[in-house]
Symmetry: C2
């Protein structure tokens, strides 16, 4: 394989989804580490914590009391980054003027939700079965559905909501405005800025289309036009299945790959083999396949260094509102960005060079794939019991 020379030489790889480059330095893993060590993830927690604002029946900062929910519970974030109502703003500087060019601002409205993944305080996605995760996938789909523009071609697919009334606050899914984007994500672990170990994710919706999805949508549309109606991620999934060098796991609907252009040492992406625009396109069976893929990624991550593996994950899919072309070119996929590099306590820092010049990685995505392929099977914590 002539490609394996990439295991030995410094090179850049191109990310067609963002239109950006990454520097890969495979020989650099030999560097000794004398820097900061993370504290390994805490796993000795009670199933119920009276001081946790996410546990069932507990009081939150807003004064609200959580219901005694059983699996998921959704409410509006008590410290939302964006709000539904705020004062109006128009820039005082005309667009043609220098301040109008160099000091540009625009108002953003929106709504931020918190979504618990389980009533139990002491578990994570890695501990959950595909059936349990399926419930989360359904909740995501419901919330997405409740915010989709009536003008979107996807609106016609909306199914009745699966959310039992006890599992969400009355204020969920009644947006005052038509929002443009919904970002579903999870920060897991203290190393990824998560301030509460209770398993939960967040959902931020905004009137603006944020930077990253806007970049991706631009690249996906460009590809669609230039490749005579082809979809980049469908072509990419096919290529990855053929090459079989970066596939960590696959089932009938989804693939888990360490993408060719991965930045983080063990970065993965879940992507469907066929064209799927958003969660709403999935059948019940396909939802279950997605839940299985999520269970596989998170369990393999924990098994890799036998620790509760920190990461940020996020779902990219069709915008809530947009042109027909934008909706059609969108491709559902999930990014996992985990910081650990060598062990439960040694992470990769994306700092000086990475911030000022270009993301840089040490091990290749192919080497990361081999490691993750070997981490299947039962969760290490259960094996140890």
């Amino acid at each position: 394989m002539p490609d394996r020379i990439l295991d030995d030489i410094s090179h850049r790889r191109y990310n067609p989804l963002r239109g950006s480059w990454i520097l890969v330095s495979p020989h650099r893993t030999k560097r000794p580490w004398q820097g900061q060590e993370e504290s390994p993830g805490v796993i000795d927690l009670p199933a119920y914590d009276p001081s946790c604002y996410l546990c069932p029946g507990n009081k939150r900062a807003s004064g609200d009391t959580n219901p005694s929910y059983e699996d998921t519970f959704v409410f509006v974030n008590d410290f939302s980054a964006v709000k539904e109502s705020q004062a109006d703003y128009t820039s005082p500087d005309p667009p043609g003027s220098l301040p109008g060019l160099l000091l540009r601002a625009e108002p953003v409205k929106g709504k931020c939700y918190v979504l618990t993944f389980s009533a139990a305080h002491n578990i994570t996605l890695a501990d959950m079965s595909p059936t349990e995760i399926h419930h989360i996938v359904k909740t995501w789909t419901d919330i997405y559905t409740a915010h989709i523009s009536p003008k979107s071609p996807l609106a016609a697919l909306a199914r009745p909501t699966h959310l039992p009334p006890t599992n969400h606050h009355a204020d969920v899914g009644t947006p005052k405005d038509q929002y443009r984007w919904m970002q579903i994500f999870e920060n897991k672990g203290a190393a990824m800025g998560c301030s509460n170990p209770h398993p939960h994710g967040q959902i931020w919706t905004t009137t603006s289309l944020p930077e990253e999805p806007a970049l991706e949508l631009q690249q996906l549309r460009k590809y669609h036009r230039e490749q005579g109606g082809g979809h980049m991620l469908v072509d990419y999934a096919r290529l990855e299945r053929e090459k079989n060098e970066r596939v960590v796991f696959q089932n009938e609907t989804f693939l888990v790959v360490c993408p060719w252009w991965a930045v983080w040492p063990f970065e993965t992406m879940i992507l469907p083999a066929k064209h799927v625009r958003s969660l709403i396109d999935l059948t019940e069976t396909e939802q279950m396949h997605l839940a299985e893929a999520i269970a596989e990624v998170t369990r393999r991550y924990d098994n890799l260094f036998e620790t509760s593996f920190p990461y940020s994950m996020g779902i990219h899919q069709a915008p809530l509102d947009g042109t027909e072309e934008e909706i059609e070119c969108s491709s559902l996929h999930i990014h996992f960005y985990p910081p650990l590099l060598r062990s439960a306590t040694v992470r990769k820092f994306l700092v000086g060079y990475e911030m000022m010049a270009e993301p840089q990685r040490d091990i290749t995505p192919e080497q990361a794939t081999l490691r993750l392929q070997k981490c299947g099977g039962e969760l290490y914590r259960k094996r140890l019991q």
Copy 2:
């Protein structure tokens, strides 16, 4: 001031230097913090550490021994991310094919240097006088000069080197190839992935123009063309002086601002008031003004939370090699990206939403400016003595 409404509402700001957006949520600082705390910077270190690979007279991983240098010392990084010589690589996939489009790679060669800022193990830039920092500015200028393309319009300005032979390894400044870019940067503090507290920075040169400077250069060139030969950063510096809302410090040549589009809570930028393409354009007096600006930023940072303030800093300037238009449109400036938000131990995490959707900040750059304006004067550690 109608602009002050931006202190209360969520909004996005545009970064014309990168062509990207940032979400600003000023009301969000009220959020309580229960997450990870950093360990405050260690400041109780010996002036000489026998186990430090950067201290004068000590042995390094390569087997080399450092000379007994007095201020700066430059050598080739023992664990370089890029190398001068490596096997050749050409992609096996033709550019028109799907693998050629989706699995693109290109080789990168280069040279990585380490530069100590002082012989003393236990000081930082914040402890140093402008005169001492001036020596570092001269060393950066010398190394930049030694790598500049003979075809560059800047080559004619090259002055004799200031580097005494004992202050650099013989291998410094004798590149085998013409490199395209030189990234000068410093990671300071364990929180920014720095693995050795001995004051030092790094210099990576590559055959490729990395992502960030390529983005900036594209924006600077676009502005130059569209604004009839104007320079974005010169216009921006003039605007900031007029508005006087984001200026932390200024002297005859340089301004320190919290840029309108800052991402990190206390992010700053050093920029000249007139058009300066690269370090080589500066007179001795202007070099001294730059040294003074660096001393001001780093001292104010340490004073802010009375701690050794972590950051990554990097210099952007003209590429080593490029078209006349590229060199002419380049603008020397220095970015400082510090992670701390509320105290010596509570940082801002740019994680889930920021990675998946858009960078998000809590306090406004104007609020950060007010805080940094008040932090002038002597270094807190010296006041406490």
